[in-house]
Protein backbone atom coordinates (compact mmCIF):
# COMPACT_ATOMS: atom_id res chain seq x y z
CA UNK A 1 0.00 0.00 0.00
CA UNK A 2 1.34 3.49 -0.79
CA UNK A 3 2.96 5.05 2.24
CA UNK A 4 2.16 8.61 3.25
CA UNK A 5 4.42 10.54 5.63
CA UNK A 6 2.31 12.79 7.82
CA UNK A 7 3.88 16.04 8.96
CA UNK A 8 2.00 17.77 11.78
CA UNK A 9 2.41 21.55 12.13
CA UNK A 10 -0.21 21.94 14.91
CA UNK A 11 2.45 23.65 17.05
CA UNK A 12 3.63 25.86 14.16
CA UNK A 13 0.73 26.75 11.85
CA UNK A 14 -1.56 26.59 14.90
CA UNK A 15 0.52 29.35 16.43
CA UNK A 16 -1.05 31.71 13.87
CA UNK A 17 -4.45 31.03 15.42
CA UNK A 18 -3.30 32.21 18.86
CA UNK A 19 -1.22 35.16 17.61
CA UNK A 20 1.98 33.11 18.20
CA UNK A 21 1.34 32.86 21.94
CA UNK A 22 1.77 29.09 22.47
CA UNK A 23 3.60 28.43 25.74
CA UNK A 24 6.32 25.90 26.49
CA UNK A 25 3.89 23.91 28.60
CA UNK A 26 1.30 23.70 25.83
CA UNK A 27 3.98 22.64 23.36
CA UNK A 28 5.25 19.97 25.74
CA UNK A 29 1.80 18.47 26.32
CA UNK A 30 0.83 18.26 22.65
CA UNK A 31 4.28 17.05 21.58
CA UNK A 32 3.94 14.16 24.05
CA UNK A 33 0.52 13.23 22.67
CA UNK A 34 1.70 13.45 19.05
CA UNK A 35 4.72 11.32 19.86
CA UNK A 36 2.51 8.69 21.46
CA UNK A 37 0.44 8.57 18.25
CA UNK A 38 3.64 7.94 16.23
CA UNK A 39 3.23 11.00 14.02
CA UNK A 40 6.38 10.96 11.85
CA UNK A 41 7.17 14.71 11.95
CA UNK A 42 6.04 17.26 14.54
CA UNK A 43 6.68 20.86 13.55
CA UNK A 44 7.05 23.60 16.14
CA UNK A 45 7.62 27.34 16.14
CA UNK A 46 6.28 30.76 15.30
CA UNK A 47 3.64 30.54 12.56
CA UNK A 48 6.08 32.00 10.03
CA UNK A 49 8.93 29.84 11.28
CA UNK A 50 12.37 30.47 12.74
CA UNK A 51 13.35 34.08 13.35
CA UNK A 52 9.89 35.35 12.43
CA UNK A 53 8.78 36.77 15.78
CA UNK A 54 8.29 40.40 14.78
CA UNK A 55 5.95 43.37 14.78
CA UNK A 56 5.32 42.68 11.10
CA UNK A 57 3.81 39.21 11.55
CA UNK A 58 3.40 38.98 15.33
CA UNK A 59 5.61 38.63 18.39
CA UNK A 60 5.83 35.13 19.85
CA UNK A 61 5.30 34.52 23.56
CA UNK A 62 8.53 32.56 23.90
CA UNK A 63 11.77 32.28 21.92
CA UNK A 64 12.43 29.84 19.10
CA UNK A 65 14.86 28.04 21.36
CA UNK A 66 12.31 27.63 24.15
CA UNK A 67 9.75 26.26 21.67
CA UNK A 68 12.24 23.81 20.17
CA UNK A 69 13.42 22.64 23.59
CA UNK A 70 9.88 22.11 24.87
CA UNK A 71 9.14 19.88 21.88
CA UNK A 72 12.55 18.16 21.85
CA UNK A 73 12.23 16.93 25.44
CA UNK A 74 8.93 15.25 24.62
CA UNK A 75 9.59 13.57 21.29
CA UNK A 76 10.97 10.03 21.32
CA UNK A 77 9.71 8.57 18.03
CA UNK A 78 8.60 11.61 16.06
CA UNK A 79 11.13 13.78 14.29
CA UNK A 80 11.22 17.45 15.28
CA UNK A 81 10.65 19.85 12.39
CA UNK A 82 10.81 23.61 11.87
CA UNK A 83 9.72 26.00 9.12
CA UNK A 84 12.27 28.49 7.77
CA UNK A 85 11.60 31.47 5.48
CA UNK A 86 14.73 33.16 4.07
CA UNK A 87 14.27 36.91 4.48
CA UNK A 88 13.10 36.28 8.05
CA UNK A 89 15.58 33.66 9.30
CA UNK A 90 19.29 33.46 8.56
CA UNK A 91 21.72 30.56 8.76
CA UNK A 92 24.02 32.24 11.27
CA UNK A 93 21.36 33.61 13.62
CA UNK A 94 18.69 30.94 13.46
CA UNK A 95 19.48 27.73 11.60
CA UNK A 96 22.75 26.83 13.34
CA UNK A 97 21.06 27.40 16.70
CA UNK A 98 18.15 25.17 15.69
CA UNK A 99 20.52 22.39 14.62
CA UNK A 100 22.33 22.69 17.95
CA UNK A 101 18.99 22.51 19.78
CA UNK A 102 18.23 19.17 18.14
CA UNK A 103 15.93 19.89 15.19
CA UNK A 104 15.77 16.91 12.80
CA UNK A 105 13.81 18.26 9.84
CA UNK A 106 13.98 21.68 8.20
CA UNK A 107 11.37 22.92 5.75
CA UNK A 108 12.82 25.89 3.89
CA UNK A 109 10.07 27.99 2.32
CA UNK A 110 9.70 30.77 -0.18
CA UNK A 111 6.86 32.35 -2.07
CA UNK A 112 5.95 29.98 -4.92
CA UNK A 113 8.01 31.81 -7.55
CA UNK A 114 11.12 32.61 -5.47
CA UNK A 115 12.77 29.23 -4.89
CA UNK A 116 16.27 30.54 -5.51
CA UNK A 117 16.14 32.53 -2.25
CA UNK A 118 16.33 29.15 -0.47
CA UNK A 119 19.53 27.94 -2.05
CA UNK A 120 22.10 28.84 0.60
CA UNK A 121 19.84 27.56 3.38
CA UNK A 122 18.99 24.21 1.78
CA UNK A 123 22.62 23.64 0.83
CA UNK A 124 23.81 24.51 4.32
CA UNK A 125 21.30 22.29 6.13
CA UNK A 126 22.00 19.44 3.77
CA UNK A 127 25.74 19.85 4.37
CA UNK A 128 25.09 19.52 8.10
CA UNK A 129 23.48 16.14 7.46
CA UNK A 130 19.94 17.18 8.41
CA UNK A 131 16.75 16.32 6.56
CA UNK A 132 15.67 19.32 4.48
CA UNK A 133 12.61 19.98 2.34
CA UNK A 134 11.80 22.84 0.01
CA UNK A 135 8.41 24.48 0.49
CA UNK A 136 6.55 26.74 -1.94
CA UNK A 137 3.97 28.94 -0.22
CA UNK A 138 0.87 30.54 -1.79
CA UNK A 139 1.21 27.98 -4.58
CA UNK A 140 -2.22 28.84 -6.04
CA UNK A 141 -0.59 31.97 -7.49
CA UNK A 142 1.63 30.01 -9.90
CA UNK A 143 0.96 27.72 -12.86
CA UNK A 144 1.89 24.06 -12.71
CA UNK A 145 4.81 24.71 -15.07
CA UNK A 146 6.18 27.43 -12.80
CA UNK A 147 5.80 25.19 -9.76
CA UNK A 148 7.65 22.40 -11.55
CA UNK A 149 10.44 24.77 -12.50
CA UNK A 150 10.74 26.16 -8.95
CA UNK A 151 10.64 22.69 -7.37
CA UNK A 152 13.36 21.55 -9.74
CA UNK A 153 15.57 24.32 -8.39
CA UNK A 154 15.02 23.13 -4.83
CA UNK A 155 15.77 19.57 -5.91
CA UNK A 156 19.03 20.80 -7.45
CA UNK A 157 20.03 22.49 -4.15
CA UNK A 158 19.75 19.13 -2.40
CA UNK A 159 16.20 19.22 -0.99
CA UNK A 160 15.08 15.74 0.04
CA UNK A 161 11.53 16.57 -1.02
CA UNK A 162 9.27 19.49 -1.92
CA UNK A 163 5.97 20.58 -0.43
CA UNK A 164 3.50 22.96 -2.03
CA UNK A 165 1.22 24.93 0.27
CA UNK A 166 -2.28 26.22 -0.36
CA UNK A 167 -1.60 29.09 2.04
CA UNK A 168 -4.76 30.97 1.12
CA UNK A 169 -7.03 27.92 1.00
CA UNK A 170 -7.93 28.78 -2.58
CA UNK A 171 -7.56 25.43 -4.34
CA UNK A 172 -10.25 23.09 -5.57
CA UNK A 173 -9.43 19.36 -5.83
CA UNK A 174 -8.85 19.49 -9.60
CA UNK A 175 -6.29 22.28 -9.14
CA UNK A 176 -4.42 20.09 -6.66
CA UNK A 177 -4.52 16.97 -8.86
CA UNK A 178 -3.16 18.92 -11.79
CA UNK A 179 -0.30 20.54 -9.89
CA UNK A 180 0.76 17.55 -7.78
CA UNK A 181 0.48 15.31 -10.85
CA UNK A 182 2.81 17.61 -12.74
CA UNK A 183 5.36 17.54 -9.92
CA UNK A 184 5.31 13.80 -9.25
CA UNK A 185 5.69 13.14 -12.98
CA UNK A 186 8.78 15.32 -13.32
CA UNK A 187 10.67 15.24 -10.02
CA UNK A 188 12.90 12.54 -8.58
CA UNK A 189 12.18 13.43 -4.94
CA UNK A 190 9.04 13.05 -2.79
CA UNK A 191 6.29 15.64 -3.25
CA UNK A 192 4.08 16.95 -0.46
CA UNK A 193 0.95 19.04 0.04
CA UNK A 194 -0.22 21.38 2.79
CA UNK A 195 -3.93 22.28 2.70
CA UNK A 196 -5.87 25.17 4.22
CA UNK A 197 -9.58 24.83 4.89
CA UNK A 198 -10.94 28.26 3.95
CA UNK A 199 -13.44 26.82 1.51
CA UNK A 200 -14.06 23.54 3.35
CA UNK A 201 -11.88 21.54 0.98
CA UNK A 202 -8.78 20.73 3.03
CA UNK A 203 -9.49 16.98 3.34
CA UNK A 204 -10.74 16.66 -0.24
CA UNK A 205 -7.69 18.51 -1.52
CA UNK A 206 -5.34 16.36 0.57
CA UNK A 207 -6.90 13.20 -0.86
CA UNK A 208 -6.53 14.61 -4.36
CA UNK A 209 -2.85 15.23 -3.59
CA UNK A 210 -2.28 11.71 -2.28
CA UNK A 211 -4.03 10.19 -5.29
CA UNK A 212 -1.87 12.28 -7.61
CA UNK A 213 1.22 10.82 -6.00
CA UNK A 214 2.04 13.12 -3.08
CA UNK A 215 3.72 11.14 -0.30
CA UNK A 216 3.99 13.88 2.34
CA UNK A 217 0.74 15.35 3.64
CA UNK A 218 0.39 18.00 6.35
CA UNK A 219 -2.44 18.00 8.86
CA UNK A 220 -3.10 19.47 12.29
CA UNK A 221 -5.16 18.51 15.32
CA UNK A 222 -8.73 19.84 14.87
CA UNK A 223 -7.27 21.59 11.81
CA UNK A 224 -5.66 24.14 14.17
CA UNK A 225 -3.90 26.68 11.95
CA UNK A 226 -4.01 30.11 10.37
CA UNK A 227 -7.51 31.35 9.55
CA UNK A 228 -9.89 28.45 8.91
CA UNK A 229 -7.08 26.06 9.69
CA UNK A 230 -5.48 23.14 7.93
CA UNK A 231 -6.51 19.60 7.03
CA UNK A 232 -7.90 18.07 10.22
CA UNK A 233 -5.35 15.43 11.13
CA UNK A 234 -7.61 13.04 13.04
CA UNK A 235 -9.91 12.98 9.98
CA UNK A 236 -7.13 12.88 7.41
CA UNK A 237 -5.37 9.84 8.87
CA UNK A 238 -8.32 7.40 8.94
CA UNK A 239 -9.62 8.68 5.60
CA UNK A 240 -6.24 8.02 3.98
CA UNK A 241 -6.08 4.58 5.62
CA UNK A 242 -9.57 3.76 4.37
CA UNK A 243 -8.49 4.73 0.86
CA UNK A 244 -5.62 2.27 1.07
CA UNK A 245 -2.72 4.47 2.10
CA UNK A 246 -0.64 3.70 5.16
CA UNK A 247 0.40 6.36 7.64
CA UNK A 248 1.77 4.29 10.53
CA UNK A 249 -0.26 6.42 12.94
CA UNK A 250 -2.23 4.92 15.81
CA UNK A 251 -5.92 5.82 15.32
CA UNK A 252 -7.06 5.97 18.93
CA UNK A 253 -3.95 7.87 19.97
CA UNK A 254 -4.36 10.46 17.22
CA UNK A 255 -7.99 10.87 18.25
CA UNK A 256 -6.81 11.33 21.84
CA UNK A 257 -4.14 13.79 20.76
CA UNK A 258 -6.76 15.93 19.03
CA UNK A 259 -8.85 16.08 22.22
CA UNK A 260 -5.78 17.00 24.24
CA UNK A 261 -4.95 19.70 21.70
CA UNK A 262 -8.40 21.22 21.88
CA UNK A 263 -8.38 21.17 25.64
CA UNK A 264 -4.86 22.46 26.18
CA UNK A 265 -3.93 24.77 23.33
CA UNK A 266 -7.06 26.07 21.59
CA UNK A 267 -9.13 28.96 22.86
CA UNK A 268 -11.81 27.68 20.45
CA UNK A 269 -11.98 24.87 17.91
CA UNK A 270 -11.18 26.14 14.42
CA UNK A 271 -14.19 26.73 12.25
CA UNK A 272 -14.67 28.38 8.88
CA UNK A 273 -15.60 31.90 9.85
CA UNK A 274 -16.62 34.60 7.37
CA UNK A 275 -13.18 36.21 7.33
CA UNK A 276 -11.60 32.91 6.29
CA UNK A 277 -14.12 32.41 3.52
CA UNK A 278 -13.33 35.89 2.24
CA UNK A 279 -9.57 35.37 2.44
CA UNK A 280 -9.95 32.10 0.51
CA UNK A 281 -12.02 33.86 -2.13
CA UNK A 282 -9.63 36.80 -2.29
CA UNK A 283 -6.58 34.51 -2.41
CA UNK A 284 -5.01 36.25 0.59
CA UNK A 285 -2.73 34.35 3.02
CA UNK A 286 -4.80 33.02 5.93
CA UNK A 287 -2.31 34.37 8.45
CA UNK A 288 -3.37 37.93 7.57
CA UNK A 289 -6.83 37.59 9.12
CA UNK A 290 -6.07 38.47 12.71
CA UNK A 291 -4.13 41.56 11.65
CA UNK A 292 -6.87 42.59 9.22
CA UNK A 293 -9.53 42.36 11.94
CA UNK A 294 -7.53 44.49 14.36
CA UNK A 295 -6.47 47.12 11.84
CA UNK A 296 -9.90 47.37 10.12
CA UNK A 297 -11.41 48.16 13.51
CA UNK A 298 -8.86 50.91 14.16
CA UNK A 299 -9.56 52.52 10.79
CA UNK A 300 -13.36 51.94 10.94
CA UNK A 301 -13.49 50.02 7.68
CA UNK A 302 -15.09 46.68 6.80
CA UNK A 303 -12.44 43.95 7.20
CA UNK A 304 -13.94 42.09 4.23
CA UNK A 305 -13.34 45.13 2.03
CA UNK A 306 -9.77 45.18 3.28
CA UNK A 307 -9.29 41.51 2.32
CA UNK A 308 -10.73 41.90 -1.16
CA UNK A 309 -8.68 45.04 -1.76
CA UNK A 310 -5.57 43.27 -0.46
CA UNK A 311 -6.29 40.44 -2.90
CA UNK A 312 -6.00 42.93 -5.74
CA UNK A 313 -2.48 43.84 -4.55
CA UNK A 314 -1.50 40.14 -4.62
CA UNK A 315 0.51 40.24 -1.40
CA UNK A 316 2.74 37.31 -0.45
CA UNK A 317 2.93 35.79 3.03
CA UNK A 318 4.93 38.16 5.23
CA UNK A 319 3.67 41.35 3.60
CA UNK A 320 1.37 42.20 6.49
CA UNK A 321 2.45 45.86 6.52
CA UNK A 322 0.33 46.34 3.40
CA UNK A 323 -2.80 45.93 5.55
CA UNK A 324 -2.34 49.33 7.22
CA UNK A 325 -1.80 51.00 3.89
CA UNK A 326 -4.93 49.46 2.38
CA UNK A 327 -7.03 50.25 5.49
CA UNK A 328 -5.78 53.83 5.48
CA UNK A 329 -6.59 54.15 1.79
CA UNK A 330 -10.11 52.71 2.26
CA UNK A 331 -10.77 54.94 5.29
CA UNK A 332 -9.92 58.09 3.36
CA UNK A 333 -12.20 57.27 0.44
CA UNK A 334 -15.39 59.26 0.61
CA UNK A 335 -17.96 56.56 -0.16
CA UNK A 336 -19.52 55.09 2.96
CA UNK A 337 -18.94 51.56 1.73
CA UNK A 338 -16.31 50.54 -0.73
CA UNK A 339 -17.84 47.15 -1.27
CA UNK A 340 -17.45 46.08 -4.83
CA UNK A 341 -18.95 42.70 -5.50
CA UNK A 342 -15.95 40.59 -6.33
CA UNK A 343 -15.94 38.48 -9.44
CA UNK A 344 -16.28 35.01 -7.97
CA UNK A 345 -16.50 33.26 -11.30
CA UNK A 346 -12.79 33.64 -11.85
CA UNK A 347 -11.07 32.31 -8.75
CA UNK A 348 -7.71 33.73 -7.94
CA UNK A 349 -5.82 30.96 -9.65
CA UNK A 350 -3.52 31.91 -12.44
Amino acid sequence: MPKITISDPTLRDGNHAVAHKLTAEQIAIYARAADAAQIPIVEVGHGNGLGASSLQVGLAAISDREMIEAARENLRHSKLGVHVIPGFATIRKDITAAIDAGVDVFRVASHCTEANTTRQHIEYISSRGKEVYGVLMMSHMATKETLRHECRKMESYGAHGVVIMDSAGAYFPDDVSERIGELTAHLNIPVGFHAHNNLGLAIANSIAAARAGATIIDGTARGFGAGAGNAQLEVLVPVLEKLGFTTGIDLYKILDASDIAQEVIMPYAPTIRPMSIVSGLAGVFSGFNKHVERIAKEFCVDPRDVLFELGRHKPVAGQEDLIIQVALQLSTQSEPSMTVTPDLTSPNLN
Partner: protein
Protein backbone atom coordinates in the same frame (compact mmCIF):
# COMPACT_ATOMS: atom_id res chain seq x y z
CA UNK B 1 48.91 66.16 -10.85
CA UNK B 2 45.71 65.09 -12.51
CA UNK B 3 43.60 68.07 -11.50
CA UNK B 4 43.23 69.16 -15.07
CA UNK B 5 40.58 66.50 -15.59
CA UNK B 6 37.27 68.23 -14.97
CA UNK B 7 35.33 65.21 -13.76
CA UNK B 8 35.98 62.45 -11.23
CA UNK B 9 36.96 59.36 -13.22
CA UNK B 10 35.24 56.27 -11.89
CA UNK B 11 35.44 52.55 -12.55
CA UNK B 12 32.43 50.30 -12.08
CA UNK B 13 33.16 46.73 -11.06
CA UNK B 14 30.16 44.42 -11.58
CA UNK B 15 27.95 44.38 -14.62
CA UNK B 16 24.68 43.14 -13.11
CA UNK B 17 21.53 45.20 -12.55
CA UNK B 18 23.14 47.47 -9.96
CA UNK B 19 26.34 48.10 -11.90
CA UNK B 20 24.54 48.80 -15.15
CA UNK B 21 21.99 51.16 -13.61
CA UNK B 22 24.85 52.94 -11.87
CA UNK B 23 26.63 53.28 -15.18
CA UNK B 24 23.66 55.07 -16.71
CA UNK B 25 23.46 57.43 -13.74
CA UNK B 26 27.18 58.08 -13.90
CA UNK B 27 27.02 58.95 -17.57
CA UNK B 28 24.32 61.52 -16.73
CA UNK B 29 26.22 63.02 -13.79
CA UNK B 30 27.87 66.41 -14.37
CA UNK B 31 30.60 65.46 -11.90
CA UNK B 32 31.50 61.89 -12.89
CA UNK B 33 32.97 60.14 -15.85
CA UNK B 34 32.92 56.34 -16.11
CA UNK B 35 36.16 55.31 -17.76
CA UNK B 36 35.96 51.54 -17.38
CA UNK B 37 33.14 49.04 -16.90
CA UNK B 38 34.33 45.69 -15.65
CA UNK B 39 32.53 42.38 -15.30
CA UNK B 40 32.93 38.74 -16.15
CA UNK B 41 30.86 38.22 -19.25
CA UNK B 42 31.10 40.36 -22.37
CA UNK B 43 27.69 39.23 -23.59
CA UNK B 44 25.66 40.09 -20.47
CA UNK B 45 22.93 42.72 -20.91
CA UNK B 46 24.94 45.15 -18.79
CA UNK B 47 28.05 44.77 -20.92
CA UNK B 48 26.07 45.25 -24.10
CA UNK B 49 24.55 48.41 -22.64
CA UNK B 50 28.00 49.73 -21.71
CA UNK B 51 29.32 49.09 -25.21
CA UNK B 52 26.28 50.87 -26.64
CA UNK B 53 27.20 53.84 -24.50
CA UNK B 54 30.76 53.73 -25.82
CA UNK B 55 32.31 52.83 -22.47
CA UNK B 56 35.51 50.80 -22.34
CA UNK B 57 34.75 47.31 -20.97
CA UNK B 58 36.57 44.24 -19.72
CA UNK B 59 35.51 40.74 -18.68
CA UNK B 60 38.60 40.18 -16.52
CA UNK B 61 36.88 41.23 -13.30
CA UNK B 62 39.13 42.71 -10.61
CA UNK B 63 42.29 41.70 -12.48
CA UNK B 64 41.45 44.21 -15.19
CA UNK B 65 42.02 46.96 -12.64
CA UNK B 66 45.53 45.74 -11.92
CA UNK B 67 46.69 45.30 -15.46
CA UNK B 68 44.50 47.25 -17.77
CA UNK B 69 43.19 50.43 -16.14
CA UNK B 70 43.94 53.95 -17.24
CA UNK B 71 44.23 56.60 -14.48
CA UNK B 72 41.09 56.83 -12.36
CA UNK B 73 39.90 58.40 -9.10
CA UNK B 74 37.31 56.09 -7.55
CA UNK B 75 35.92 52.55 -7.78
CA UNK B 76 32.35 51.36 -7.32
CA UNK B 77 32.13 47.68 -6.37
CA UNK B 78 28.71 46.41 -7.45
CA UNK B 79 29.49 42.68 -7.36
CA UNK B 80 28.37 40.63 -4.34
CA UNK B 81 29.37 40.45 -0.69
CA UNK B 82 31.47 37.34 -1.20
CA UNK B 83 33.13 38.84 -4.30
CA UNK B 84 33.88 42.05 -2.40
CA UNK B 85 35.73 40.06 0.25
CA UNK B 86 38.00 38.82 -2.51
CA UNK B 87 38.18 42.14 -4.33
CA UNK B 88 38.99 44.35 -1.36
CA UNK B 89 42.62 43.21 -0.74
CA UNK B 90 43.31 43.97 -4.41
CA UNK B 91 41.38 47.23 -4.52
CA UNK B 92 42.96 48.71 -1.40
CA UNK B 93 46.39 48.46 -3.01
CA UNK B 94 45.23 50.80 -5.73
CA UNK B 95 44.98 53.59 -3.18
CA UNK B 96 41.70 55.05 -4.45
CA UNK B 97 38.43 55.37 -2.56
CA UNK B 98 36.11 52.39 -2.96
CA UNK B 99 32.34 52.66 -2.72
CA UNK B 100 31.02 49.20 -1.91
CA UNK B 101 27.41 48.51 -2.91
CA UNK B 102 27.40 44.97 -1.53
CA UNK B 103 26.34 44.02 2.01
CA UNK B 104 29.93 42.98 2.87
CA UNK B 105 30.17 45.10 6.05
CA UNK B 106 33.87 45.76 5.40
CA UNK B 107 33.81 49.53 5.06
CA UNK B 108 32.37 52.58 6.82
CA UNK B 109 28.58 52.39 6.56
CA UNK B 110 27.15 55.42 4.82
CA UNK B 111 23.61 56.72 4.48
CA UNK B 112 23.98 60.11 2.77
CA UNK B 113 21.09 61.80 4.56
CA UNK B 114 22.87 61.04 7.85
CA UNK B 115 26.66 60.86 7.53
CA UNK B 116 27.79 61.83 4.03
CA UNK B 117 30.72 64.08 4.91
CA UNK B 118 32.03 61.84 7.66
CA UNK B 119 32.02 58.79 5.37
CA UNK B 120 34.24 60.57 2.84
CA UNK B 121 37.17 60.19 5.24
CA UNK B 122 37.23 56.42 4.73
CA UNK B 123 38.96 54.34 2.05
CA UNK B 124 36.11 51.85 1.86
CA UNK B 125 32.62 53.29 2.04
CA UNK B 126 29.81 50.76 2.37
CA UNK B 127 26.31 51.58 1.16
CA UNK B 128 24.69 49.05 3.54
CA UNK B 129 21.74 47.60 1.57
CA UNK B 130 18.92 48.87 -0.64
CA UNK B 131 16.36 48.39 2.13
CA UNK B 132 18.78 49.99 4.57
CA UNK B 133 19.04 53.14 2.45
CA UNK B 134 15.23 53.41 2.58
CA UNK B 135 14.70 52.54 6.24
CA UNK B 136 17.75 53.77 8.14
CA UNK B 137 17.04 57.51 7.80
CA UNK B 138 13.61 56.87 9.37
CA UNK B 139 15.09 54.63 12.07
CA UNK B 140 17.72 57.29 12.76
CA UNK B 141 15.02 59.94 13.10
CA UNK B 142 13.04 57.76 15.50
CA UNK B 143 16.22 57.34 17.55
CA UNK B 144 16.89 61.10 17.53
CA UNK B 145 13.40 61.87 18.84
CA UNK B 146 13.12 58.86 21.17
CA UNK B 147 16.16 58.18 23.29
CA UNK B 148 13.99 55.49 24.91
CA UNK B 149 13.63 53.41 21.73
CA UNK B 150 14.02 49.72 22.61
CA UNK B 151 13.44 48.00 19.28
CA UNK B 152 13.22 48.86 15.59
CA UNK B 153 12.03 46.60 12.82
CA UNK B 154 12.34 47.35 9.11
CA UNK B 155 10.47 45.46 6.41
CA UNK B 156 11.19 45.96 2.73
CA UNK B 157 9.05 44.46 -0.02
CA UNK B 158 10.44 44.53 -3.52
CA UNK B 159 9.32 43.30 -6.91
CA UNK B 160 10.76 39.88 -7.68
CA UNK B 161 11.91 41.11 -11.05
CA UNK B 162 14.11 43.74 -9.42
CA UNK B 163 16.00 41.16 -7.32
CA UNK B 164 18.95 39.84 -9.27
CA UNK B 165 20.78 36.60 -8.61
CA UNK B 166 23.31 38.20 -6.25
CA UNK B 167 20.52 39.61 -4.07
CA UNK B 168 18.86 36.21 -3.92
CA UNK B 169 22.06 34.35 -3.15
CA UNK B 170 22.97 36.87 -0.42
CA UNK B 171 19.67 37.24 1.38
CA UNK B 172 21.22 36.39 4.76
CA UNK B 173 23.88 39.06 4.30
CA UNK B 174 21.14 41.54 3.40
CA UNK B 175 19.26 40.78 6.63
CA UNK B 176 22.24 40.83 8.94
CA UNK B 177 23.89 43.91 7.43
CA UNK B 178 20.65 45.87 7.52
CA UNK B 179 20.03 44.91 11.13
CA UNK B 180 23.48 45.97 12.19
CA UNK B 181 23.16 49.32 10.43
CA UNK B 182 19.71 50.00 11.90
CA UNK B 183 21.12 49.49 15.40
CA UNK B 184 24.21 51.58 14.73
CA UNK B 185 22.36 54.56 13.27
CA UNK B 186 19.26 54.56 15.50
CA UNK B 187 20.81 53.61 18.82
CA UNK B 188 18.10 50.97 19.34
CA UNK B 189 19.55 48.04 21.30
CA UNK B 190 17.60 45.51 19.23
CA UNK B 191 16.65 45.52 15.56
CA UNK B 192 15.20 43.17 12.99
CA UNK B 193 15.20 43.34 9.19
CA UNK B 194 12.84 41.42 6.93
CA UNK B 195 12.98 41.17 3.13
CA UNK B 196 10.00 40.11 1.04
CA UNK B 197 10.05 39.43 -2.70
CA UNK B 198 6.70 39.87 -4.44
CA UNK B 199 6.20 38.57 -7.99
CA UNK B 200 2.85 40.34 -8.63
CA UNK B 201 2.34 41.80 -12.11
CA UNK B 202 2.40 44.66 -12.81
CA UNK B 203 5.46 44.85 -10.58
CA UNK B 204 5.00 46.51 -7.21
CA UNK B 205 7.02 49.57 -6.28
CA UNK B 206 9.59 49.08 -3.55
CA UNK B 207 8.00 49.67 -0.19
CA UNK B 208 9.59 49.87 3.25
CA UNK B 209 7.85 49.92 6.62
CA UNK B 210 9.56 50.90 9.84
CA UNK B 211 8.13 49.82 13.21
CA UNK B 212 9.46 50.99 16.56
CA UNK B 213 8.80 50.27 20.20
CA UNK B 214 9.39 53.24 22.48
CA UNK B 215 8.65 54.04 26.09
CA UNK B 216 6.77 57.26 25.32
CA UNK B 217 5.78 58.10 21.73
CA UNK B 218 6.40 61.73 20.68
CA UNK B 219 4.56 61.92 17.38
CA UNK B 220 4.36 65.74 17.57
CA UNK B 221 8.13 65.88 17.28
CA UNK B 222 8.53 62.82 15.09
CA UNK B 223 6.20 63.84 12.26
CA UNK B 224 8.03 67.09 11.36
CA UNK B 225 11.42 65.42 11.86
CA UNK B 226 10.45 62.64 9.45
CA UNK B 227 9.22 65.24 6.95
CA UNK B 228 12.57 66.99 7.12
CA UNK B 229 14.63 63.86 6.51
CA UNK B 230 12.30 62.73 3.73
CA UNK B 231 12.92 66.06 1.96
CA UNK B 232 16.66 65.60 2.46
CA UNK B 233 16.54 62.11 0.91
CA UNK B 234 14.51 63.49 -1.98
CA UNK B 235 17.48 65.68 -2.94
CA UNK B 236 19.26 62.51 -4.10
CA UNK B 237 16.34 60.02 -4.45
CA UNK B 238 13.64 62.06 -6.21
CA UNK B 239 10.81 59.52 -5.88
CA UNK B 240 11.11 58.63 -2.19
CA UNK B 241 7.66 59.23 -0.69
CA UNK B 242 5.98 58.73 2.66
CA UNK B 243 2.75 56.79 2.05
CA UNK B 244 1.86 56.04 5.67
CA UNK B 245 3.04 58.92 7.86
CA UNK B 246 4.18 58.09 11.42
CA UNK B 247 1.23 56.56 13.35
CA UNK B 248 0.86 55.13 16.82
CA UNK B 249 -0.68 51.69 16.28
CA UNK B 250 -1.58 50.35 19.71
CA UNK B 251 1.88 49.59 21.02
CA UNK B 252 4.16 50.66 18.20
CA UNK B 253 5.16 53.47 15.90
CA UNK B 254 4.68 52.58 12.24
CA UNK B 255 5.39 54.41 8.98
CA UNK B 256 5.78 53.35 5.36
CA UNK B 257 7.65 54.78 2.39
CA UNK B 258 7.39 53.92 -1.27
CA UNK B 259 10.43 54.28 -3.50
CA UNK B 260 10.23 54.54 -7.25
CA UNK B 261 13.30 54.60 -9.39
CA UNK B 262 14.13 56.78 -12.34
CA UNK B 263 13.64 53.93 -14.80
CA UNK B 264 17.27 53.93 -15.97
CA UNK B 265 18.21 50.28 -16.44
CA UNK B 266 15.22 48.60 -14.82
CA UNK B 267 11.72 50.13 -14.84
CA UNK B 268 10.54 52.60 -12.20
CA UNK B 269 9.23 49.92 -9.83
CA UNK B 270 12.83 48.93 -9.02
CA UNK B 271 13.20 51.61 -6.36
CA UNK B 272 15.46 49.26 -4.42
CA UNK B 273 18.02 49.34 -7.19
CA UNK B 274 17.68 53.05 -7.60
CA UNK B 275 17.98 54.08 -3.99
CA UNK B 276 21.28 52.36 -3.30
CA UNK B 277 22.69 53.69 -6.57
CA UNK B 278 21.43 57.21 -5.88
CA UNK B 279 23.07 57.01 -2.47
CA UNK B 280 26.35 55.77 -3.94
CA UNK B 281 26.19 58.47 -6.57
CA UNK B 282 25.61 61.13 -3.90
CA UNK B 283 28.80 59.95 -2.18
CA UNK B 284 30.83 59.99 -5.39
CA UNK B 285 29.53 63.41 -6.40
CA UNK B 286 30.34 64.83 -2.98
CA UNK B 287 33.81 63.35 -3.36
CA UNK B 288 34.05 65.00 -6.77
CA UNK B 289 33.03 68.35 -5.36
CA UNK B 290 35.53 68.09 -2.56
CA UNK B 291 38.33 66.77 -4.68
CA UNK B 292 37.86 69.05 -7.58
CA UNK B 293 36.68 71.92 -5.42
CA UNK B 294 33.73 72.60 -7.60
CA UNK B 295 31.64 75.43 -6.32
CA UNK B 296 28.36 73.66 -6.63
CA UNK B 297 25.26 73.68 -4.54
CA UNK B 298 26.25 71.81 -1.43
CA UNK B 299 24.30 68.74 -0.52
CA UNK B 300 21.55 69.47 2.03
Amino acid sequence: METSHPKLRVIILGSGNIGTDLLIKTVRSPHLDCSFFVGRNLTSPGMLKARDLGIRVSDKSVNALLHDAEPFDLIFDATSASAHFENWPVLRQLGKPVIDLTPSRIGKMCVPAINLDDALNYANINMVTCGGQASIPLAYTIGQVHKDVSYIEVVSSIASQSAGLATRANIDEYVETTERAVKTFSGAPRAKAILILNPALPCMDMQTTVFAQVERPRLDELIPAVDRIVRKIQTYVPDYRLVVPPLWDGDRIVMTVKVQGQGDFLPKYAGNLDIINCAALAVAEQQARQRLQIEAEVFC
